[in-house]
């Protein structure tokens, strides 16, 4: 894929922005530098590339100018060998459109991007300052491991080592072989502690039952104590209520007495209390206002009588307006007339000057000389066309000279480059070369050879996997291995024996433990005083019988004592056994069980030995077979290892078969290549091309192509001569046309001059004379128009002055003023008289209007006074009084009555609540019979009792809690269940953590193996490129990169130009950046080796590079650009110059000006 044009229609700060990368020039690196200062939008453009490929992010930050629904990116991309236009809009789905606006499947772009997703693309084909620094740090973290470094560089994963290391550390925090610490060890300790606790809890079951009974008794006593305390508390509350109700009864009776004198007052509306003050205030206010209005009406009537108007000066408004206008014109005319007369004189002088200029000073009618547009238009048109006619004639003459020269040059070249091949020979040669290229046997041969080498490598890998077996290819096929049935039989026997041994081992362990338990039990029972076994009792009985037999025979004192001792001992044993019957039975049972367990233990040991013997026999069979195979194969690898080895052997045989096939195909391809070479050589000899016997097919094709190119050049030159001749004929015809056009112009010029007075001159005027004359005539026309205009204005001013004088005289006569010679002063007297009359009339109308308003106010005040009087009468009638002041006294008494009633109701309610009675009378009868003193004494006694009962309740509560705590401490059956549940939980935790550990452990092991495989596969090509790139970018400070084995891995080592060497992780920080860049370059080429790479985007990665390092870095980028498109974004102008110096064909795009600058042309 390649970006030909990136259209930032509405994206970020861009509106209709375009970066045109253009078409790729053949043979030149596709390197582009996008330059722009800070905030010009470089990162935005880079982000737009990603969003075009993969869609605009759902929370894109580039919507600050164009909101999401309007965002749009366009791109002209080269994909699948064609150029296509795409648009990307902001939608969750179907956001990729073609140039017709139809939805396009995302797979179309993804397929061209090699299936890389957005993250993979960013890590592999985008590079900025941060990723470069992170890459340098990853070199440090990898400790120089080659596999990590190569994979990191190709995949762009910067801190691969850190993440793999953290995964391993996480796994080993659970378990690490050979270590006693870790999560697993902790969980096992917790499991053992739970088991011990459970065993201990079992022995406390009986104690638990006793404590439960104690707890229940304490609970009953506590409940009874609480009930008694509640009853005492209830009586205390009742006594306190009665004591509190006594003062409330007194209050109630006092209020009832206060209410009696107010009972006769009538009820009044509640609003009267608020209305009365307002009513009294309004009454006073209305009386004052009525008096004021009456006085104002009398004053206005007096003023109206004093105002008298002059009737003859009324109705002259229209004439006064006209007079004012005429006076203004009169004054303006007096001031302007001298200037206007001067302007008229200047216009007449201009006319005379122009006539002299054009040589017509004696002309009587100057207006006759001015040309109409019908005459002047064609003359001006002909003058404009004159320069075109002259230029066309000169150009045609120059083109004819040029064509003659080109024809001469082409005719000279054809004599030098004629190839000498005829058409038939050229056709034969062309067909031969085309056929050879189509077949391309050389490519097939190289492919077969490469496949053959790969198969050989694969077979060698398979042989290595068979080690320590050291046989070769023939020995591999000759190896005799057991049949699959035999292997399965051994496996079956081994599995059965393993199962059998494990089962018997478990049984043996169980029996041994059981025997130990019984031994301990018998020992414990035997140590109890009085518990004697049947055996010991039988021995005592036998001893007594023997003593009796001796005594019966001897009958002396000594035997009697001996017999007595034996008899007493037996009696004592018998008595003790009677008193411990149960323990004795238990002891006997244990002894019997011990005998059975020992017998079973002996049996299981014999069976175990038999199973072990069988297993040794099977192992012997397998070792015999391994010994027969030989070639260093280990004979103690076991059945599993042997089966694994056989599977590896099968794969090695399969690889051997593939190698044979590849070798055969390689030979066949070589034979066909040789045949093809002979055919091409024959065809070229027939075509007359000289070739060498040592040339290979490619060299022969190149020689033939050179000959063909020479023939084609000669043919092209002949065609060029024919073109030159046709061109010369065409130019000569154009020259004839130009000459004819000049003649036609001369004729039209004469005819145009003849239509006016210009044609009456003795000599035909030239275009220069006519151009000057036309400009002078334009001045003459303007001066004539000015002269007419000034004369007209002077006449109009003189007429306005006469009209003004007539109007002033007429008005003065009508209003009785004396005539005067000073017209302006008389006009002012007329205006003053009319204005004074109008002012007097206005004042009279104003006074009449104010009088009408005051009369309306007087009527409204009378109506309002009547309404107020009606309200006052209603109040006074209710209470039977004569004034509103007395009404106010009655309303205050009513308020006091209402307050007494409310307080009385409240006291009654509190009294009923305190005594818990239905009516006031009941409450009064109860309280009247109570003695306040006896109630107080009872309350004191009750409180004392309550304190005692409260203390007892607390004690009982504590006793019950202690009993509960003891039960909780013992645990009981629930504790056993809880312990068991906890134990199961720990077991499940171990299982879960085990699975997680194994997943991580196996995953990291697989990743390590994958890295080693990647290293082995890509080491040679990537190391070579990385070494070259590192030597280049370090400017020879380091000559090459080499590897060295270390503890199962390989270390990357940089060799200095001074002969020293450093492990990659020990390089300085800046050098690590350069090494990472070199590895990334090698990774890019490694990717490009397998498929066409997408565009590589870099954002100012050379911030810390000096100019020399930057120059080398650009040289690397140019190398990448030879394979695919590389775009470098920067805000440094000097980097653009460096890039152009390193790669002259690099194209610089200026984001601000929108220009596209190529350092030099491709041709250059």
């Amino acid at each position: 894929m390649r970006i030909r044009k990136l259209g930032l229609r509405r994206y970020g700060k861009f509106t209709d922005g375009v970066i045109d990368f253009g078409e790729r020039s053949a043979g030149a690196p596709d390197l582009h530098i996008v330059y722009g200062p800070n905030e010009a939008g470089k990162s935005t453009a880079m982000s737009a590339c990603m969003d075009l490929f993969y869609g605009i992010h759902h929370q894109s930050r580039f919507n600050f100018l164009h909101p999401y629904p309007t965002m749009r990116i366009e791109g002209e991309l080269e994909i699948f060998g064609t150029v296509r236009n795409f648009s990307r809009i902001k939608l969750p789905h179907n956001s990729l459109l073609d140039d017709a606006g139809n939805t396009v499947a995302e797979a179309m772009l993804l397929g061209e991007l090699g299936g890389l997703d957005r993250n993979a693309y960013q890590t592999m084909f985008c590079l900025d300052d941060e990723t470069l620094e992170a890459g340098g740090e990853s070199i440090l973290a990898s400790k120089g491991d080659l596999g990590h470094l190569l994979f990191s560089a190709t995949a762009g994963l910067a801190d691969l080592s850190d993440r793999l290391g953290s995964a391993k550390a996480e796994a080993e925090s659970f378990f690490r072989s050979g270590k006693r610490s870790g999560v697993l060890a902790d969980l096992k300790k917790e499991l053992a502690a739970l088991k011990d606790e459970r065993d201990r809890t079992d022995t406390l079951a009986s104690e638990y039952s006793r404590l439960v009974i104690e707890r229940d008794e304490a609970s009953s006593a506590y409940t009874e104590a609480l009930a008694q305390r509640g009853r005492t508390q209830a009586r205390i509350d009742e006594v306190q209520r009665f004591i509190s109700a006594l003062p409330r009864l007194q209050t109630f009776r006092s209020l009832r007495a206060d209410l009696l004198p107010l009972a006769a007052l009538p009820d009044a509306p509640s609003t009267w209390v608020d209305d009365l003050p307002t009513l009294m205030t309004r009454q006073t206010k209305l009386a004052t206002q009525a008096q004021t209005v009456a006085e104002t009406i009398a004053d206005l009537r007096d003023e109206l009588g004093r105002l008298v108007v002059n009737a003859s000066a009324c109705g002259l408004e229209d004439r006064i307006e006209l007079l004012t206008d005429l006076r203004a014109r009169h004054i303006t005319a007096e001031k302007d007339l001298p200037d206007r007369r001067l302007s008229l004189g200047l216009a007449e002088q201009t006319v005379a000057r122009v006539l002299t200029h054009i040589g017509r000073d004696s002309e009587q009618d100057p207006a006759r000389l001015v040309l109409s547009t019908a005459v002047a238009g064609p003359i001006r048109d002909l003058m404009e066309r004159r320069s075109g006619v002259e230029a066309a004639l000169a150009a045609a003459e120059a083109e004819v000279d040029k064509a003659v020269e080109a024809l001469s040059l082409a005719e000279a070249n054809i004599e030098e480059r004629d190839g000498g091949f005829d058409e038939a020979a050229t056709s034969v040669l062309t067909a031969a070369i085309a056929t050879a290229r189509q077949i391309d046997d050389a490519t097939r041969s190289r492919a077969a050879d490469r496949l053959c080498r790969e198969r050989a490598d694969e077979f060698n890998d398979r042989l290595i996997e068979l080690r320590p077996w050291t046989g070769d290819r023939n020995a591999l096929c000759a190896v005799q291995v057991p049949t699959q049935d035999q292997l399965q039989r051994w496996a079956s026997i081994e599995a059965d024996l393993a199962l059998e041994i494990a089962s018997r081992q478990g049984e043996q362990d169980r029996l041994a433990a059981e025997a130990g338990r019984l031994d301990a039990k018998i020992e414990a029972l035997g140590s109890v005083v009085g518990v004697v076994s049947d055996k010991d009792a039988g021995e005592a009985r036998s001893a007594r019988e023997a003593a009796w037999a001796i005594h019966k025979a001897e009958l002396d004192a000594k035997t009697a004592i001996t017999f007595e001792t034996a008899m007493r001992k037996l009696d004592l044993i018998t008595e003790q056994r009677f008193s411990h019957t149960a323990r004795v039975a238990e002891l006997n049972s244990a002894l019997l069980e011990q005998a059975e367990v020992r017998a079973a233990l002996a049996q299981i040991r014999r069976q175990l030995e038999e199973s072990a013997r069988k297993r040794v026999a099977v192992a012997g069979e397998i070792e015999n077979v391994l010994r027969a195979i030989g070639h260093g194969l280990e004979i103690d690898m076991g059945l599993a290892g042997f089966s694994l080895w056989i599977r590896k052997r099968d794969r090695a045989i399969e690889a051997s078969g593939k190698l044979l096939t590849a070798e055969r195909e390689c030979r066949e391809a070589q034979i066909e290549t040789n045949g093809s070479r002979e055919r091409i050589a024959e065809a070229m000899r027939l075509a007359g091309v000289d070739i060498s016997q040592d040339d290979d097919v490619a060299a022969m094709l190149a020689t033939g192509q050179v000959a063909l190119d020479r023939t084609v050049d000669a043919k092209n030159l002949r065609a060029a001569i024919a073109d030159r001749r046709r061109d010369l004929r065409f130019r000569e015809k154009k020259l004839d046309d130009a000459r004819l056009a000049e003649e036609a112009w001369n004729k039209a010029w004469r005819e145009a001059c003849a239509t006016c007075w210009l044609g009456q001159c003795e000599i035909e005027p030239t275009t220069a004379v006519v151009r000057e004359t036309l400009e002078a005539l334009a001045q003459l026309d303007a001066a004539l128009q000015k002269r007419v205009e000034w004369a007209d204005r002077i006449a109009k001013m003189q007429r306005d002055q006469a009209q003004f004088r007539t109007e002033v005289d007429a008005l003065a006569a009508s209003i009785g003023l004396s005539p005067s010679s000073d017209t302006l002063r008389l006009c002012q007297a007329v205006l003053d008289c009319v204005a004074a009359t109008a002012k007097m009339l206005g004042r009279r109308l104003d006074v009449e209007a104010r009088l009408a308003v005051e009369q309306d106010k007087a009527r409204a005040l009378a109506d309002e006074t009547a309404e107020l009087q009606a309200q006052a009468s209603q109040m006074m009638n209710l209470f039977g009084v004569e004034s509103l002041t007395e009404v106010d006294g009655r309303l205050r008494a009513l308020a006091r009555k209402s307050d007494f009633e409310a307080r009385s109701a409240k006291a009654r309610d509190e009294l009923l609540e305190g005594v818990r009675a239905e009516t006031v009378e009941d409450a009064e009868s109860i309280l009247d019979t109570i003695d306040r003193g006896s109630l107080g004494a009872e309350l004191i006694a009750l409180k004392k009792r309550f304190d005692d009962e409260d203390g007892r309740s607390r004690d009982l509560f504590s006793a019950r809690n202690r009993a509960e705590d003891k039960i909780t401490a013992v645990g009981g059956d629930a504790a056993v269940a809880i312990l068991e549940a906890r134990r199961r939980t720990v077991l499940l935790t171990i299982e879960d953590r085990t699975l997680a550990y194994l997943r991580l452990k196996l995953g990291t092991a697989a990743a390590d193996r994958a890295l080693r495989a990647y290293r082995d596969r890509h080491r040679s090509s990537m190391m070579m490129r990385a070494s070259e790139a590192f030597a280049l970018i370090s400017r020879g400070a380091y000559s090459e990169l080499v590897t060295q084995p270390s503890n199962g891995s390989e270390l990357l080592i940089a060799k200095g130009s001074d002969g020293g060497s450093k492990i990659a992780s020990e390089l300085s920080k800046g050098t690590r950046f350069q090494l990472y860049l070199a590895l990334r370059v090698a990774g890019y080429h490694e990717f490009a080796r397998a498929q066409a790479p997408p565009p590589f985007l870099a954002d100012d990665i050379m911030e810390t590079f000096d100019d020399f390092r930057a120059e080398e870095a650009f040289r690397l980028l140019a190398g990448m650009a030879a394979t695919g498109q590389v775009v470098y974004f920067t805000h440094h102008r000097h980097l653009c110059e460096i890039a152009k110096a390193v790669e002259p064909t690099a194209i610089v795009h200026d984001l601000q000006s929108g220009t596209r600058v190529r350092a030099t042309s491709r041709a250059a």
Binding site: R163, Y997, K1001, G1003, T1004, A1006
Partner: protein, 69 residues
Amino acid sequence: MSDEIVGSEAFRAEADGIVNDLLAHLPPECRRSLAPDDTGLDLLIGRLASEGSEEVLARLAAGSMQEVR
């Protein structure tokens, strides 16, 4: 990685060693639950190897996504 590495015999032998090493240190109840017999053990190793490689790859990819952000 799942096809080329996890399916290989060499990796399988290494995985057997890792799993058996751990099983020997587990309580008997857990051992019986995880691997009741040889067949169960084989299945367990295959499943854990596949899941483990996917998990490690996901961790590496997740790390690269954080870098991109």
